[in-house]
């Protein structure tokens, strides 16, 4: 197997003769029709690069910045091959979070609507029996999180992927790292070697060992921008304040940006829950999204936010990758992400597909180094978000009061700090149901989970 270093890199397109269209890229009519219905007119850069290679049957490593149409880039060639040779259990897409898996399968369904593609989402936290039945119907496309998929492969009698033709790892670097690695290894053992494999992400690991796991054969590496980067339409700001004043600054931001739809990222489940209660008690339409909610609650939260029913989503890193919510105007980092990659993914929730967007990172006295590191990676300087100190001072009393109430309410509801609750432990001990671990499990319980996630990244 050639190592990824040997992987040929696609030649950058020469002087563009004419901008490629979906038709000129060789797509078949049913897909063109679906694309038209969905309002996609011209292929994005990554799509234009990936499609010809994929249609030739090459394995692909695709790297492109957030919101650049990666999902369609792998969905289209798969659907086209499916059209040529319709078969059950044709392709499997693996994604790190449940919400992302859900979103990918929706995209498959709408792209394949004209050709009647059948697609199931296999994720944790949902009834196992119904999924077994759905799998037995031999859907064309499976979109899954690793834990639940493995569970089905091992335990559902009569389900196998031995005729699989395509494997896609979305957010591949996340899937290939330590947390998902062992499960992915097991899955790969149960999947035939003769298949096409696509790896996609906005940030891609370079470590050879990790890529070999995915057992690519003669892959082509398609990178639209080689440097991990944020899109140019994104305006990045920071806001410097002392640690105890984080809450009041957040409220101030929420207040001054009240007309926009925004995502607030926190490091812990506890903060996400607390801030959403606080925001709500101060009259902002906020809704939480984190790994300790039930799956239906999670999808419900996301649905409300997407439909515009709620303007503020307070989320942990479960929502940091892949989710495509076009209407997001502002991303606020309540806690600065520890890894610069996470920063890129988080701010990638806004300014998608050519739109503009803002990101504001709350920076305390302890976080300065992290900011510098992020700026080094993205190659962009963040600007200072101007605030009026007096306004902050005015808000302070009410915010503190709301904060106290929020903590009290959480105590009453029995929601404890992220990562330490009994519920969490039981979930992990229970094993089966929650095998697809969420991003916030590691991030959320940082100090305690450190041992477990040793060597991550």
């Amino acid at each position: 197997m050639p190592s990824p270093e040997e992987a040929s890199t696609s030649t950058p397109p020469g002087p563009p003769s004419a901008p490629p269209t979906f038709k000129s890229l060789g797509l078949i009519d049913p897909l063109l029709e679906a694309l038209e219905q969905m309002g996609f007119k011209t292929p994005t850069e990554i799509q234009a690069e990936v499609l010809p290679q994929a249609l030739q049957g090459r394995d692909i490593i695709g790297v492109a910045s957030t919101g650049s149409g990666k999902t369609a880039a792998f969905a289209l060639p798969i659907l086209q091959k499916l059209w040529e040779d319709p078969k059950g259990l044709f392709a499997c897409v693996i994604a790190p979070t449940r919400e992302l898996a859900f979103q990918i399968s929706q995209q498959f369904e709408s792209l394949g609507s004209t050709m009647g593609v059948r697609c199931v989402t296999i994720i944790g936290g949902v009834d196992l029996q119904a999924q077994k039945v759905a799998l037995a119907k031999k859907p064309h496309i499976i979109v899954a999180t690793p834990g639940r998929l493995l569970e089905h492969l091992e335990e559902t009698k009569g389900f196998s992927l031995r005729n699989l033709k395509f494997l896609v790892l979305d957010e591949a670097d996340r899937l290939l790292d330590m947390d998902f690695g062992p499960k992915l290894d097991k899955i790969l053992k149960l999947i035939p070697k003769e298949r096409s494999t696509y790896l996609f992400s906005a940030t891609m690991t370079t470590k050879v060992a990790k890529l070999q796991r995915a057992s690519l054969s003669n892959p082509v590496r398609v990178e639209v921008n080689s440097k991990y980067s944020t899109v140019s339409t994104l305006l990045q700001y920071y806001l410097l304040m002392p640690l105890p004043q984080k809450d009041v600054h957040l409220i101030h931001l929420a207040n001054s940006l009240a007309q926009n739809s925004m995502i607030v990222f926190t490091r812990t489940v506890h903060d996400a829950q607390r801030l959403s209660i606080m925001l709500r008690s101060l009259g902002f339409p906020a809704i939480p999204l984190h790994g300790q909610l039930s799956q239906s609650a999670r999808l419900g939260s996301l649905g409300k936010f997407k439909s515009g029913g709620r303007k503020v989503l307070v989320a942990t890193d479960v929502a940091s990758r892949g989710l495509d919510i076009p209407s997001v105007d502002v991303v606020i980092n309540y806690d600065i992400p520890v890894h610069s990659k996470d920063y890129i993914h988080r701010v990638g929730r806004t300014a998608r597909a050519g739109r503009s967007g803002k990101s504001i990172t709350l920076v305390t006295q302890y976080d300065v180094e992290l900011v510098l590191r992020i700026e080094a990676v993205t190659g962009k300087k963040m600007e200072l978000w101007p605030v009026d100190k007096e306004e902050i001072a005015l808000l302070r009393e009410r915010v503190d009061e709301a904060g106290r109430l929020a903590i009290q309410e959480m105590k009453e509801q029995g929601i404890k700090g992220g990562g330490h609750s009994r519920k969490r432990k039981r979930e992990e001990g229970g094993g089966h149901d929650d095998q697809d671990r969420d991003d916030d499990m590691v991030e959320a319980g940082m100090p305690k989970m450190k041992k477990k996630s040793k060597g991550r990244r």
Binding site: A136, K157, G158
Partner: protein, 639 residues
């Protein structure tokens, strides 16, 4: 009497100890059901399976026999299977109805069934008489009805042999019924009699056996193909979708253990000793028959001591809580098989419900393809809710997977459409609103449904009694009971109480248990007259006291529930006046009560009065008493 608490306790005790199993002569496999009733002189006495003295030995060495079966025979059978598989592709009704993609199962037909849009026509089906055939609207031309059963001759052999000795009439009925069943439509027979029941049972068990055998053979055949492919290193075949979520595919609901005994012997009559062995038969006999030494009062009573239908219903073991799994293989019929490892479930609604509630799921009912409900009239006298409970749990998506191979489940099971293909066969001596509602609402077979129709002639009653049918007005079935109660308490009862003659020696017969409680309470609180009650909950002591008091005239009124009479069948003496709160479900009860006054010496028909309160919603009951024409006149008469 039939329900003897002490004897049923003994049964249970004996079941535990399995005492009777050790007794000699217990292992006879006779098919007693076919014993004709002499007085009707319809059929000759026939015993099906030859009872040889070695049966006992045979049963005990059975296992060894199976193991040591000579190989050549097996090969021959495989060949036979192959032939059958080839033949099945033509037009076997099993394949057309339960194949991978049945023609009848279309979105349109499912919608039509869900909206209860049926196109109905009347027809005559040979000996079954006139029937109402309904098919989902828009599916009138489906070919489902044309395909016939392909029952292998070998399986039909025992039936054919028995039919040779039966009168032509019965044979014709059996054949017509078998043809009807073969269409895999729902069948609702509303007029079974003690005479037709055994022959129908024979046909139904053959139908069930054929269904199970076809299904199992296909599965075994596919198992073989898969293992061949694996051995040869080929990819396993893809077209092996041949089963449901769980193994049981036939369900038979019965009121009492004694009926289970009759059904199982009808089933084993099709599986002669030369080809099959019956496992656990001794245990079955001991648990489902009366314990050794117990004397069946009803079966041994002199002819005429009890009404015939009562004897037929209650002879034998009348425990109403049981469930039995029957596993059928090529060479054996195993009774008491585990539910998830059996093909046929024989149970009472109560027994099944208890099992479902214990397991907290009804997964073993998820893949029932043929459901048979026998003696529905008796089931309505038990707790009808249990029947509804069972039907609500049929063909639901299972909650657990029970180690099923998901790649072999038929597509329409996965789509949750199993209920649209299930064939349900309902047998009842008469119709009640409950059974009709079950037929109309719980059956969704897209192949259509057949309901037998019957015109009733007026029932015979002693001459000279003035029967006074009183109609009250009611416009919705919902408040019918209220209206009835109101009419009874404000009009009918005051009139009775006013009359000196009519307010003594009066029986008030109340069919519904709920009405019974209501009227009882009314008597307790508002009526000054003395009265006694007889309900299905009365103890033996209460009963004799009440009967005595009523006979001697100490109590002027006697309230009797229909269930009391159904289960106990006491003759009540001292009746001069009869009030039917509603027409009884059992038409013969009407005759019986009208003849009771003449048990006493010197009673003239003119001394007896009879009133029947009815509304238009009593149509089905009224029809059985007054005859179809008489009833329609009564209804038309208006208030």
């Amino acid at each position: 009497m039939a329900i003897d608490d002490s004897s049923s306790t003994t049964t249970r005790l004996l079941t535990l100890l399995n005492v009777s199993a050790t007794k000699a002569g217990k292992r006879k496999r006779t098919y007693e059901d076919s014993k004709p009733v002499e007085k009707l002189n319809k059929r000759r006495a026939v015993q099906f399976a030859a009872v040889d003295g070695n049966t006992e030995q045979a049963a005990s060495t059975a296992e060894a026999e199976v193991v040591g079966e000579p190989e050549p025979k097996k090969v021959a059978e495989v060949e036979e299977d192959e032939e059958e598989l080839g033949a099945q592709t033509t037009a076997d009704s099993y394949e057309t109805h339960f194949g991978l993609s049945p023609d009848a199962l279309t979105e349109r037909s499912r919608e039509a069934v869900d909206q209860r849009a049926w196109s109905t026509r009347r027809d005559k089906l040979g000996k079954l008489g006139s029937v109402v055939v309904s098919v989902p609207e828009g599916a009138e031309n489906s070919g489902a009805s044309t395909s016939k059963h392909k029952i292998s001759d070998k399986m039909k052999e025992p039936l054919v042999a028995r039919q040779a000795k039966l009168p032509r009439e019965v044979v014709e009925l059996q054949n017509d019924f078998l043809d009807t069943l073969s269409s895999y439509r729902d069948v609702y027979v509303t007029r079974t009699t003690p005479d037709t029941q055994p022959s129908m049972r024979e046909v139904l068990t053959l139908h069930a056996l054929n269904h199970i055998t076809k299904k199992r053979r296909r599965i075994l055949k596919n198992n073989e193909r898969i293992s061949h492919a694996v051995k040869a290193g080929n990819p396993p075949p893809e077209d092996v979708q041949d089963q449901g979520f769980t193994r049981p595919s036939v369900l038979i609901l019965l009121p009492f253990r004694s009926f289970a005994l009759r059904w199982i012997s009808a089933l084993t009559a099709h599986t002669p000793r030369s080809h099959y062995q019956i496992e656990n038969h001794a245990r079955f006999q001991s648990e489902y028959d009366l314990p050794a030494g117990a004397i069946d009062k009803l079966a041994n009573a002199e002819p005429g001591a009890y009404p015939r239908d009562h004897v037929e219903m209650f002879k034998g073991n009348v425990d109403d809580s049981f469930r039995l799994g029957v596993k059928i293989t090529k060479k054996s019929v195993k009774l008491f098989a585990d539910f998830y490892n059996c093909d046929l479930i024989v149970a009472s609604p109560l027994g099944l419900r208890m099992s479902v509630e214990k397991d907290k799921n009804a997964d073993f009912l998820s893949s029932i393809e043929v459901a048979i409900v026998d003696q529905m009239d008796a089931l309505t006298m038990q707790n009808w809710e249990h029947v509804q409970f069972v039907f609500n749990h049929l063909n639901q998506m299972p909650k657990e997977s029970h180690d099923v191979d998901f790649s072999r489940i038929k597509p329409w099971y996965l789509d949750g459409h199993a209920a649209y293909l299930r064939q349900t066969i309902l047998l009842s001596a008469y119709e009640t609103p409950e059974t009709r509602a079950l037929f109309n609402q719980s059956l969704k077979n897209v192949s259509g449904r057949i309901r037998t129709e019957r015109r009733w002639t007026p029932i015979e009653v002693p001459e000279g009694i003035d029967q006074n049918f009183v109609q009250f007005d009611s416009n919705s079935p919902k408040d019918e009971p209220d209206k009835r109660f109101q009419y009874f308490t404000t009009q009918m009862l005051p009139a009775i109480l006013k009359s000196a003659v009519q307010s003594a020696n009066t029986v008030i017969f109340i069919p519904s248990s709920l009405d019974f409680i209501r009227v009882h309470n009314h008597f307790r609180k508002n009526v000054g007259a003395s009265f006694a009650v007889l309900s299905e909950y009365s103890s033996n002591q209460d009963i004799s006291r009440a009967r005595q008091a009523f006979f001697t005239g100490k109590k002027a009124f006697l309230l009797i529930s229909e269930r009391f009479h159904f289960f106990r069948r006491y003759k009540i003496r001292g009746i001069r006046n009869l009030v039917f709160y509603a027409p009884p479900d059992h038409p013969q009860f009407y005759t019986e009560f009208l003849s009771y006054p003449f048990l006493d010496e010197g009673v003239d028909a003119s001394d007896v009065t009879c009133r029947v309160l009815y509304s238009k919603y009593d149509w089905l009951r009224l029809e059985r008493i007054a005859g179809t024409e008489g009833a329609s006149e009564l209804i038309k008469r208006g208030v």
